[in-house]
């Protein structure tokens, strides 16, 4: 029972972080139709920006977060403006190649400044152990779940209800019609990239806090793909369920079966989903795809 609770909490926390990272990917895909292979690198940039301000420049947590958000927004907007916009009208494959190139570039830039050695960072979230239902779990895992829940909730609300969110859904649905009601498609594109970078920043910082600041964050970002394939690529609720499922699955396989298998299990799921339900597990139940 105690192992179960521990694995459950750890799995949920990783799943929630994963869902947050994946939501950024989904936002970009929905609004602009671009499959962004650099989402993992956005996590990396977020984590290292926070590390730089927090540890190297010795600023308080709040300032570090604000600077992180600012940098994320700038990176998102710049990437959209100078890398993706010139690609408008090009084939999907070309655009995918460009985002893969972007991933390589961003990863290399981070490595250039910080090398490959993991960096240690003083913990931001409380690290003491908490016992729940006989299991002992680190408090920072619980906090990570809470933070992710709040940010996911805010982003979902923004997307469903706010005027900018509705404009993003409108652009995803029909760009020509969106333009003729006065929506600036360019601004919506820039906003999706900025939001994706910000959600990746939060995910990256949480991950760095409960593990370490290192290049491996990119590998965690790669798990975004099983999550979004499972969720059906363009569904916000599907992404959240997909993230939690992959997070839990990985932990349970690691705890009860084999840690090595846990590394590959998300990709086995990816292949199975593609074979059995190419539109994602949530493709059918979902009536509204926008």
């Amino acid at each position: 029972m105690s192992t179960f609770v521990t694995l459950l909490v750890i799995g949920l926390s990783e799943g929630a972080i994963l869902a947050l990272a994946a939501l950024g990917f989904v936002l970009i895909y929905k609004a602009t139709g671009v499959i962004n292979f650099a989402q993992g690198e956005f996590l990396l940039i977020g984590a290292y920006t926070f590390y730089t301000v927090f540890v190297v420049l010795q600023m308080p947590v709040v300032v570090s977060l604000l600077v992180g958000v600012l940098v994320a927004v700038i990176v998102g907007v710049v990437v959209e403006r100078f890398i993706l916009r010139p690609m408008v009208g090009q084939s999907h494959i070309s655009i995918i190649m460009v985002t893969i190139g972007l991933a390589g570039l961003l990863g290399a830039v981070v490595q250039m400044f910080f090398g490959t050695q993991p960096r240690s960072m003083p913990p931001v979230l409380p690290t003491e152990s908490v016992s729940i239902l006989g299991g002992s779990v680190p408090a920072n895992r619980l906090w990570a779940i809470v933070v992710c829940g709040v940010v996911l909730g805010l982003l979902t609300w923004f997307f469903q209800k706010s005027r900018h969110g509705v404009a993003m859904r409108a652009v995803a649905d029909d760009q020509q019609a969106a333009m003729t009601v006065g929506i600036s498609v360019r601004r919506v594109f820039a906003m999706s990239w900025a939001l994706a970078a910000v959600s990746a920043l939060v995910a990256g910082v949480l991950l760095a806090d409960i593990t370490t600041v290192e290049m491996n964050i990119v590998n965690f970002g790669l798990l975004v793909f099983p999550v979004v394939i499972m969720g059906g690529l363009d569904s916000v609720p599907g992404t959240i369920v997909g993230g939690l499922t992959i997070g839990l699955l990985t932990q349970f396989v690691s705890g009860y079966m084999d840690p090595g298998l846990a590394e590959v299990i998300p990709y086995i799921v990816l292949v199975l989903v593609l074979l059995v339900r190419p539109y994602g597990v949530f493709g059918e139940k979902r009536i509204e795809r926008v």
């Binding site: 706010s162 509705v166 859904r169 409108a170 333009m179 003729t180 009601v181 006065g182 600036s184 498609v185």
Partner: protein
């Protein structure tokens, strides 16, 4: 002109009827070697229904696309007279900026947000009137809330005018064709347009549906007082509802005037009925 006592006027222009609202001059549009529009000139007066007619491929939709900014013309210009007395060149603006000046439109092949509800589609028509502040919108503060309520009131007036009450919460993609056409008209009207461009609002409808639609367009014009430019194939409808008609053929203007004048014009008769029919 009768204007229904609405709390929110749906006509976005306060220009008195009869004054020039839109001027198209020397408009030329080429796609490679094909000339879609050749030195087209026309003038739309405020408070009128101005029809554009012509055989298939005459360039009617191209003209509308040039006005609303979707096509960038090769030459010539389109100028809108705004309320403040300014003359704005539409031909150098992107579509979203043209929309902000109060030029709303519908499409021949319906362009609605089909996954969104009727209400959401119409609220998107309010987009140009909504303030930009992301923060207060996020926090759902008082001003954002009041603003939302006002926008909803305008939309409700449009729903009322076009009798769309039964469909508010329905996703647009599930509605019948005729209703979708009306929703599209409603979304354009929710913008409180200074000028409404309608591209074949009655395309693909049977006689009864056409009559309904013509009634709604007349309501929009007479009750709400909105100036309208309309493309239509059905000559009977055009003669019935429009104040002025411009006839295009092969990208050129071959006739312009009141419906009666245009009917008498030998070039128009020839274009519609073939050479020899005029004599």
């Amino acid at each position: 002109m009768r204007t229904r006592a609405y709390r929110h006027p749906l006509n976005g222009s306060s220009m008195p009827p009869g004054r020039p609202l839109l001027r198209v001059s020397d408009l030329t549009l080429r796609f490679g070697g094909v000339t879609a529009l050749a030195e087209v000139g026309m003038s739309v007066d405020s408070g009128r229904i101005h029809a554009i007619i012509g055989p298939n491929g005459a360039g009617k939709s191209s003209l509308l696309n040039c006005i609303s900014g979707l096509y960038r013309p090769t030459g010539g210009e389109v100028v809108l007279h705004t309320d403040s007395g300014q003359e704005r060149r539409l031909t150098s603006l992107p579509p979203n900026r043209v929309a902000r000046l109060g030029v709303a439109r519908s499409f021949q092949n319906i362009e609605l947000f089909e996954h969104l509800t009727v209400l959401e589609n119409m609220m998107l028509g309010r987009h140009i009137h909504m303030r930009q502040n992301v923060l207060s919108a996020m926090l759902w503060l008082g001003p954002a809330r009041r603003q939302e309520i006002t926008h909803r009131e305008v939309v409700e007036e449009v729903i009322d005018l076009l009798k769309l009450q039964a469909y508010r919460q329905k996703p647009v993609g599930t509605l019948a064709y005729g209703i979708q056409k009306r929703v599209e008209l409603g979304r354009a009207l929710a913008m409180q347009p200074a000028l409404l461009l309608l591209d074949e609002p009655m395309a693909g409808m049977n006689a009864e549906e056409k009559e309904d639609m013509a009634r709604y367009i007349l309501d929009v014009h007479e009750l709400a007082g909105v100036s309208i430019v309309l493309i239509e194939h059905d000559m009977n409808v055009v003669m019935d509802i429009s104040d002025r008609v411009t006839v295009l053929d092969f990208g050129r203007v071959i006739g312009d005037g009141t419906p009666a004048e245009v009917m008498e014009n030998p070039r128009v008769v020839e274009a519609y009925l073939g050479a020899g029919a005029a004599s």
